[in-house]
Symmetry: C2
Subunit: 82 residues, 2 copies
């Protein structure tokens, strides 16, 4: 069954307290390879049948209007996986 993946991240200019907490935890644990961590959401939308242009357009609409809050989040990626 094809799946449409929608990735949503907090806007770059916003603090991301979850990500900040993980960044601090990694540092306390002695992991120094990563200067920052940001945490967003990954939605997997299952599609019965084929992913037509109409289905993909609907996914874009749903991503912008329902899955993300455009005040604080950006839809950074929409892709179809097998």
């Amino acid at each position: 069954m094809p799946t449409i993946v929608v990735d949503v991240m907090p806007k770059a200019e916003l603090l991301d307290p979850q990500g900040k907490a993980v960044t601090g935890a990694l540092s306390r644990l002695g992991v120094e390879d990563f200067s920052a961590v940001r945490i967003g959401k990954r939605f997997e939308l299952s599609v019965e049948g084929e992913v037509t242009d109409a289905v993909l357009a609907k996914a874009r609409e749903v991503a912008d209007d329902i899955l993300s809050n455009s005040v604080i989040e950006d839809v950074v990626n929409i892709e179809v996986v097998a």
Copy 2:
């Protein structure tokens, strides 16, 4: 600055209440193109400098040990983006 993206999803055999709620909401809103929605997490790890094999291996280790709970979640993807 290169970024390592780590995608974590709830295990397939587990109920995903957030995803179920969104699936129900879409259906109530008249969106019938998607038979199921599952919601996971997307981590973006910023790397200062180059992504060497060692840094990537550390990212894998952190993904398995710290960013995900292997009892209920799977790391489904680790990739480097520009």
